[in-house]
Every structure is written in structure tokens, then in C-alpha cells.
């Protein structure tokens, strides 16, 4: 057990190192430079560009830049090129904005897809299963940005509530129930949109896992024992079908950072995704690299956690 943990920590550290090198190389070897983004800008005189290059060590060889960058990252001294703000503080602030979207979206995904998937599997081939299947495909196939506009039109014309942004501007004087409902309305659409794809994919996966398990011999044994169908489905089959999902639990984590670039920019939601998008537009390398690094860290932690969870849940695996 401990050797497994130790080994996987070493392995993941090595992976992280390569991720950091590769993302650094991708960004720095790409043609163009942040100082040349806007040659028309009068502020970018040759002297300014030179000072900029000096300040951010752009004249050093690549490996020195790499070391300096990650030194800054780990000591927390890293600043954005655009406005000289500390990057980590900025990310933290945006992260707190994204968090409610992420939590509501994840809750929706996991609470909806399991009942739907299980029901489809139990009544496979029936009306419920077929319509659930079709809707799942529909949701997988619909482009998020298009669906967002359809929903916006629908909500705005039917309920007459504003939904863009985190809250309606200029509501300072309203009573708190109003403020609260306003927040809820603003939160609802983007999180539903963020969850749709997840619900569709996850419910399909639950269904196929369930079908796989329902065909196993031990399900027949359970029925031959005289168990009621509910006990057969929800105890014997579900328990086995759930095993793989324990590992998926760890894979939620990366969603924290990746956020949704598209949805956040449609809804003008000042979250992580939008920040990353703006950073890409401005070629703000420190932010891009930091976001990338943090999300790689989350992916690795996520896989680690899911490996551990699987070890704990499946009695067949012993180290």
C-alpha cells in the first residue's frame, strides 16, 4: 500500500515536470511575442519593449526563463504581464466565482444521470429507455453556445428575468429575497448548460455499466435465491456497476479549473474560464502557464484519489 502511494507520487511528479516543460515550450516557441501583440499601441515604444523584455527575463536563454518562471510560481511571486497583479491572488478570486457554477453543475450531473441511467438499463428497449437515449444524444450533439442562446431567449422571453452576469447591475437597494432570487436565476442557466453534456455522457455510461452487470451470472444467482427484482437491481447489480464510477469521482476535480471558456464568456461570468480566455487574447503567459500547471496538478491528484478509492472499494484488489 505505502509502496503504491510512494511509487505513484514519484511517477506523478515526473509527469508534472514534463507537463511544465512542454507547456512552457509550446508557449515560448510559438511565433510572436507578447511585446508585439499590439504594434500600433503608442505605449509600446522600442524602449518600453526593451524594458518589458528586461523585466520579464525575455532576453535570457529559454532554460533560465523556465527556471525563473517556476521559481516565481512556487514562491508565489509570479505576476501578470498585463497589469502586474499577482497571478495566484487573481486566480483565487476568479476561482471563487467559478466555484458555485462548478458545484451546482456537478450536483446536477451526478444526481440526474444515475437515476436516468439505471432506469434505462432496467427497462431497456422500452419507451423510457429509447427516449432517454435519444435525449442523451441530443444533449451530447448540441453545441453549447447554441444551446446557451436558445435557453437565454427562452428564459428572457418567458420569465422576463435577466440572466447575463453574476447578478443584475444596480440592485443594491433591493431586499435580500430579491437579491437571492436574482443570484439563483443568474446561477441557474450557466450551471444547467455546464451540466448537460455531463448528464448525457454519464447517464449513457451508467446505463451501459448496468447492462453489463445485469447480464452477469451472479445476478441470475440472486434471482434464483428468490430475491425481489428491486433487491436484485439495486443491491446486487448496482453495487457492482458502481465500482467504475468511484474512479470517475476523482476525475471531477480538473473541472474546477478548466471551467467552461465558452459558457463563461457567453454569460459574462467572471470565472476561471473567462480569465483564461482573456489571458490567451492578451498573451499573458504567466496566467496561461499557471492555469495550465494548476489544472495538470488537479488531474494528477484526481487520478491518484480515484486509484485510492478503487483500492478501497473493490474487495478483489489487495496490495
Amino acid at each position: 500500500m505505502f509502496s503504491f502511494i510512494g511509487r505513484s507520487i514519484i511517477q506523478k511528479t515526473v509527469t508534472l515536470f514534463f507537463v511544465s516543460v512542454i507547456s512552457f515550450l509550446i508557449i515560448h516557441l510559438a511565433p510572436g511575442e507578447p511585446s508585439q501583440v499590439d504594434p500600433m499601441n503608442p505605449k509600446f515604444t522600442p524602449e518600453m519593449v526593451e524594458r518589458f523584455r528586461q523585466e520579464f527575463h525575455l532576453n535570457e536563454p529559454l532554460y533560465t526563463q523556465y527556471l525563473l518562471f517556476y521559481q516565481d510560481l512556487f514562491t508565489g511571486k509570479i505576476v501578470s504581464w498585463k497589469d502586474n497583479q499577482p497571478v495566484l491572488a487573481k486566480i483565487w478570486e476568479r476561482f471563487l466565482n467559478s466555484l458555485p457554477l462548478f458545484i451546482v453543475g456537478t450536483l446536477l450531473t451526478w444526481t440526474l444521470s444515475f437515476p436516468v441511467g439505471i432506469r434505462s438499463a432496467i427497462f431497456r428497449g422500452g419507451i423510457y429507455d429509447r427516449s432517454a437515449t435519444f435525449f442523451a444524444y441530443l444533449l451530447i450533439s448540441i453545441p453549447g453556445f447554441f444551446f446557451a442562446y436558445v435557453l437565454i431567449i427562452f428564459v428572457v422571453t418567458v420569465f422576463h428575468v435577466p440572466v447575463i452576469g453574476m447578478e443584475t447591475f444596480g440592485m443594491g437597494a433591493a431586499s435580500w429575497p430579491h437579491l437571492f432570487m436574482d443570484r439563483v436565476w443568474h446561477l441557474l442557466l450557466p450551471s444547467v448548460l455546464g451540466a448537460t453534456g455531463g448528464i448525457a455522457v454519464l447517464s449513457r455510461y451508467v446505463r451501459s455499466q448496468m447492462l453489463e452487470v445485469e447480464g452477469q451470472d451472479y445476478v441470475r444467482t440472486a434471482r434464483a435465491k428468490g430475491l425481489a427484482p428491486d433487491q436484485v437491481h439495486y443491491k446486487h447489480a448496482l453495487r457492482n456497476a458502481l465500482l467504475p464510477f468511484v474512479t470517475m469521482f476523482g476525475l471531477i476535480l480538473p473541472g474546477l479549473i478548466g471551467g467552461s471558456v465558452i459558457i463563461e464568456s457567453i454569460f459574462s461570468w467572471p470565472g476561471m474560464g473567462r480569465m483564461a480566455y482573456e489571458a490567451i487574447l492578451a498573451r499573458d503567459y504567466p496566467i496561461i502557464l499557471t492555469v495550465n500547471f494548476l489544472s495538470a496538478v488537479l488531474v494528477l491528484i484526481g487520478t491518484f484519489v480515484s486509484d485510492l478509492l478503487y483500492l478501497m472499494v473493490d474487495p478483489r484488489i489487495r496490495l
Partner: protein, 380 residues
């Protein structure tokens, strides 16, 4: 009891080739048939669209700006008297209306179909080829080991390429020589016992091929994919080819894992052992004996990959990082229409629904094929 058997063979089930069997099972899935139908329709439309919207004097001109005709709803007639005759749309109507610059949306949709089709196919083609290549190597040659001098040599060669690309010719040549030396070192040093002893660490086994490739997959999976694509596309000069390549190079990991797993299990099967016992070469075994067994599911999942690639491209276009204007794509038609969502909803709905239908049909078609090929699901 002396009568000979009257009929030697019992009547068996009617014989079917694998393809007929597949088609018979596939036919049962009505949604998949619709998917296939739309798939073919889309294919034809995209190719026709590419022909009809290109050239010097295209039948449908997607770039023609008629400012006085802007934001006309679908099926409206042009103001013929206000237009020069060569600018009147074909069929005498704007089938899908016009956009904010008075361009014919129908022509732009036709042009965009071709973009979606090529991006989908080329990107997935790249990812499938890389995936099969990497997965095949990992699965078949996985237990071979790389020695340190291989790794050193390849690193030096890569550095040489980078240096060469940056214009540093002499450093590049030097690194190239060093790299080549490293790779051929084993042969060169072999006769000299003493030298071999001092450089022994260079010839130690460092890492198995399988580990190396699977670690590469792990590394690639660490990147948030849409964010990575966005970054790279934003940094590179805007072009359709860059988008295809970037989407392709960031989505090969699934195929690699699948092909590796498949090869690992196929390699243990008797027909491969038999082929090897007959002295058939590695590459012939891989391509003639193992690949046909592994390829079908890969192709099926690539159908679904195409759907994903089309969605990704549309998303990029929507964010303004896609194929550069004036070339039309479904994503940037929608993106351009979002400002007029209440005045000209067709600018949002026509491309949106088009993407939805095409992606949906690819998904349904792919899933139908997968169901038909999965022997486990056959009885269900």
C-alpha cells in the same frame, strides 16, 4: 442399422458474410439508419458546397456584400431593382436570409459545410493515425527497452531540429552529429573492451517502450484539452490547417490506449503465435494479422471523434479563433449572428441546428455501428 446416412449435413443457419451480418444488425437500429442517411447527405452537400462556392464566379457567392439587403429573413425576395444583376442570388431568393452585411446565409452555410467536413475528417484522421501508430508500437514492441544512449541521442537530435528551426545552423549541425554518434555508439564502441566499460551506463536499459508511450499519454491527458487547443490555435497564425493539426494532435490518446490494449490481447492469441512460428515478419503480422482485428472499433469511435472535432471547431470559430474570415464556417456565422439574436434569430438558429443535426447523425451512426459490432449486445 446398415442404412447409410441420407443427408450428411444438417441444414445450418443461412450463411452470411461478416459485412452482411453487420448490415443486417445495423438495419434494425432505425436511428442509426437516419444517421447514415444524413451523413451521406451532408457529405454530398459539403462537396457540392465546396464546388459551388469557390472559383472566380461561383454559383453561390458567400463573400458578396450587399449592404442594402442586410438582415433579410429566410426565403425573402431580393430588391431586384436596387441590385446589379450579377448580385441577385441564385433561385431569386435568399433561402436562409442574409446577415448583417447582406451576405447570403445559404451560400455561407454551403461553404461552412465543407470546413466542418474537412476539419472533422482530417483532424480525426491525424489522431487515428498517431493513435494507431503509438498504440501499435506500445502493444507489440512494448517489452523492448530503450537504452540511455537512445534517449540521449534522440534528445540531441530534437534539440538539433529546434536549433535549426531557430536559424542556428552550426549549433544544429553539431548537435546532429552528437546525436547520430550517440545512437550508433553501441556498434562503434563494441570492439574496444576498455571504452565499453567506462561508458557502460549508456547501454543500460532505461525504460521500456510501453512505459514511455503510456507516460506520454498520461502527460497529454494532463492538459485541459479545449484550453490547450485554444492556446495553441491563438498563438499560431490563424488557418484551417493549424486547427485540424492541433485538434488531431490533442486527441490521439484514447485510440492509443485502445489499440495498445487490443494488441496486447491479440499478441497472446494462437493465430499470432502460429504466424510467428511460420516465420512471418513483424510488420506483416502487425498489418495483415492483427490490424484487421483491432481496426473496426477504432474506426467506429473515430466516427464519434469526428462529431467531437466538428463541435470543437465550431466552438473555436465561435470564440473567434477559428478559420480566418472572410471564409465562412458554421461557428462564425453563429458567432456573427449573436448580436442580432432577437432581430435576426435565423442567424443563430440555422447554423446552430445544422451543427446539431450533423453532429447528432455522426453520433447516432457511430453508436449504431458499435452496437452492431459488439457481439455481447447482439442478443439484447
Amino acid at each position: 442399422m446398415t442404412n447409410g446416412p441420407l443427408i450428411l449435413e444438417a441444414p445450418l443457419a443461412p450463411k452470411q458474410t461478416r459485412l452482411e451480418e453487420l448490415w443486417r444488425l445495423f438495419k434494425q437500429n432505425r436511428l442509426a439508419i437516419i444517421g447514415l442517411f444524413i451523413f451521406v447527405l451532408f457529405f454530398i452537400t459539403a462537396i457540392l458546397g465546396a464546388v459551388l462556392t469557390s472559383g472566380r464566379d461561383p454559383l453561390f457567392d458567400p463573400a458578396l456584400i450587399r449592404l442594402q439587403e442586410k438582415l433579410l429573413p429566410p426565403l425573402s425576395r431580393p430588391h431586384v431593382d436596387a441590385l446589379p444583376p450579377q448580385e441577385v442570388p441564385t433561385f431569386g431568393r435568399y433561402l436562409f436570409g442574409t446577415d448583417d452585411l447582406g451576405r447570403d446565409v445559404f451560400s455561407r452555410m454551403l461553404q461552412g459545410a465543407w470546413v466542418s467536413l474537412t476539419v472533422g475528417f482530417v483532424a480525426v484522421g491525424i489522431s487515428v493515425m498517431v493513435g494507431i501508430f503509438m498504440g501499435g508500437i506500445a502493444g507489440y514492441f512494448g517489452e523492448h527497452h530503450l537504452r540511455w544512449n537512445h534517449i540521449l541521442g534522440v534528445t540531441l537530435l530534437l534539440a538539433a531540429t529546434v536549433m535549426g528551426a531557430m536559424g542556428n545552423v552550426w549549433t544544429s549541425l553539431g548537435l546532429l552529429m552528437a546525436g547520430g554518434l550517440c545512437l550508433s555508439l553501441f556498434r562503434l564502441v563494441k570492439p574496444y573492451r576498455k571504452l565499453r566499460f567506462t561508458t557502460a551506463w549508456l547501454f543500460k536499459n532505461a525504460v521500456s517502450v510501453d512505459t514511455l508511450i503510456m507516460r506520454m499519454v498520461d502527460i497529454m491527458l494532463c492538459f485541459p484539452s479545449f484550453f490547450l487547443i485554444l492556446t495553441v490555435v491563438a498563438l499560431l497564425p490563424a488557418s484551417m490547417y493549424n486547427i485540424m493539426i492541433v485538434i488531431g494532435l490533442t486527441s490521439w490518446m484514447g485510440t492509443t490506449r485502445f489499440v495498445r490494449a487490443e494488441f496486447l490481447s491479440l499478441r497472446e492469441q494462437d493465430f499470432v503465435t502460429a504466424a510467428r512460428a511460420l516465420g512471418i515478419g513483424n510488420f506483416r503480422i502487425i498489418f495483415r494479422h492483427m490490424m484487421p482485428n483491432a481496426i473496426a472499433p477504432v474506426l467506429v469511435s473515430s466516427t464519434i471523434g469526428i462529431a467531437t472535432a466538428i463541435l470543437t471547431e465550431a466552438g473555436l470559430s465561435f470564440l473567434g479563433f477559428g478559420v480566418p474570415p472572410p471564409h465562412a464556417t458554421w461557428g462564425n456565422i453563429l458567432s456573427g449572428g449573436k448580436g442580432f439574436i432577437f432581430d435576426a434569430p435565423w442567424l443563430t438558429f440555422i447554423p446552430g441546428i445544422a451543427i446539431l443535426i450533423v453532429v447528432l447523425c455522426f453520433n447516432l451512426f457511430g453508436e449504431g455501428l458499435r452496437d452492431a459490432m459488439n457481439p455481447k449486445l447482439r442478443e439484447r
